[in-house]
Symmetry: C2
Subunit: 247 residues, 2 copies
DNA sequence: CCAAAAGTGTTGACAATACACCCATGA
DNA sequence: TCATGGGTGTATTGTCAACACTTTTGG
């Protein structure tokens, strides 16, 4: 709520809650899904890998705090942080999730295209940030393994019924690259002709770039370039195969 | 995060955050969707209607707090509160959403079957709780109108691809009642034969009750009774009509 | 000319719609 | 016997998955 405070409530009467944000930021690189992690420099869990995040300041919203902490902790370029697709995942509030004090954490999921330079680049904390294949992210601090799993599941589900996949692609991309995003996130193969038809048949999902074509990586026919379109939802959905549903 | 605390962080150094929960609890009654509201008995917004909710206590998770506050503030029977379908909506953290202090609120969506007695019944605060048709919920306190709108949208969307609709029904229900839930929440009409086939064709959505049939309300052929099944997701989805999609 | 990747066409299975129709009950 | 709501059948229409095929490039 807000407003249901007991009469005469004194903000300082209780042991205070700390409110933090945690970020599960994903990218697709080399056919594998990666998550951005930082190495903890202090107790508890010193030396462990953890999701980036930090305290929400008194005059910040959680989303503002998320972008600020991401920039501070990982050294991602400002432009990337400002542009990245960020959405709330859920809030984790179990009383003992942090051994030191009561911490309620608002978790976010972030999506970025594959970056030429990894995470490092800025100074300071940035040196402790790394892209890690999600399969190799073991032994995370706190309940971050749970958050990571929840975030991963959510991204997979959202690809089915939203246009989110373009957030993993550079500003201009080929349909082959877009398909690779789906195949990587779902860890499944998709029929190219059908994928292509479905994407092009969804108004506003992608729009063709008038300019020239680009080669894929040397061999093969050059592919047409597309930009993300204005649409956000995908009707009808693009269902992942094999998920128990023969359909 | 949790753990990214600045070195030497003192829990009492900052102006503390209050962490609260807000609940948008819905039911379907008489062909209209209703939300459970309470009348505020103190400033700010004294006399306004608001979503039930309250402070998270030091040793509680947000979900525990949500059920406790719901029971305390609305007088819903314990059994109903324990059984109700509750899920996190999202967290609202804009700095000025409460004029008195910094309040971060974890919002939940709840679904209950139509109850014989309205909300009142218990004593205390319960007298100030009421079921209000969602269309008539105007002038809510704080940002509760936003939370309500977000919750309503989410429920409508979730009916499409989950088995959530049974949470609006009593333990045993007819397919006509289930269909009425969809029609009410979506404010759309659904073809009965097709609806029926789709529900029955989805394994685990509903299971037939071996016993006898029940009359609908007097007239008409008695309908078979069903119970919620073990399934939670709906593949393929049951898309609402007219939502911009000819399909 | 071959491999590799982009892009097009076609077909058959299946799903969704729309609607006609029968059944059981209360008044 | 009529109105009301439950339940079944079916034809048309469309969509989707599968796969064969053409096109354009690099080596």
């Amino acid at each position: 709520m807000s407003g249901g405070a007991p009469q005469g409530y004194d903000p300082y009467a209780f042991e205070p809650f700390a409110v933090t944000v945690d970020l599960a930021v994903f990218t697709v690189r080399g056919g594998r899904m990666h998550v951005l992690l930082i190495r903890r420099g202090q107790e508890p869990y010193e030396g462990s890998w953890a999701l980036p995040g930090g305290f929400v300041l008194p005059r910040e919203s959680a989303e503002t705090a998320a972008r600020r902490e991401l920039a501070e902790e990982t050294g991602l370029p400002e432009a990337v942080v400002a542009a990245l697709h960020l959405e709330q995942l859920r809030t984790y509030s179990e009383p003992d999730r942090d051994p030191r004090m009561r911490v309620v954490s608002v978790a976010f999921t972030g999506l970025v295209p594959d970056l030429p330079e990894p995470a490092a680049g800025g100074g300071g904390d940035a040196a402790h940030a790394r892209w890690v294949p999600v399969g190799e992210a073991a032994g995370l601090a706190f309940d971050h393994a749970v958050i990571l799993a929840d975030a991963r599941e959510r991204v997979g589900a959202k690809l089915e019924y939203t246009c989110l996949a373009t957030a993993f692609c550079p500003p201009e991309f080929t349909l082959g690259e877009l398909q690779a995003v789906y195949e990587t996130v779902w860890d499944a193969t998709v029929d190219r002709p059908n994928f292509r038809r479905k994407v092009l048949a969804t108004p506003g999902f992608v729009e063709a770039v008038p300019g020239a074509a680009r080669l894929t990586g040397g061999r093969g026919k050059p592919a047409a370039l597309y930009r993300p379109g204005p649409a956000t939802t995908l009707h009808p959905p693009l269902l992942r195969p094999s998920e128990g549903h023969p359909r």
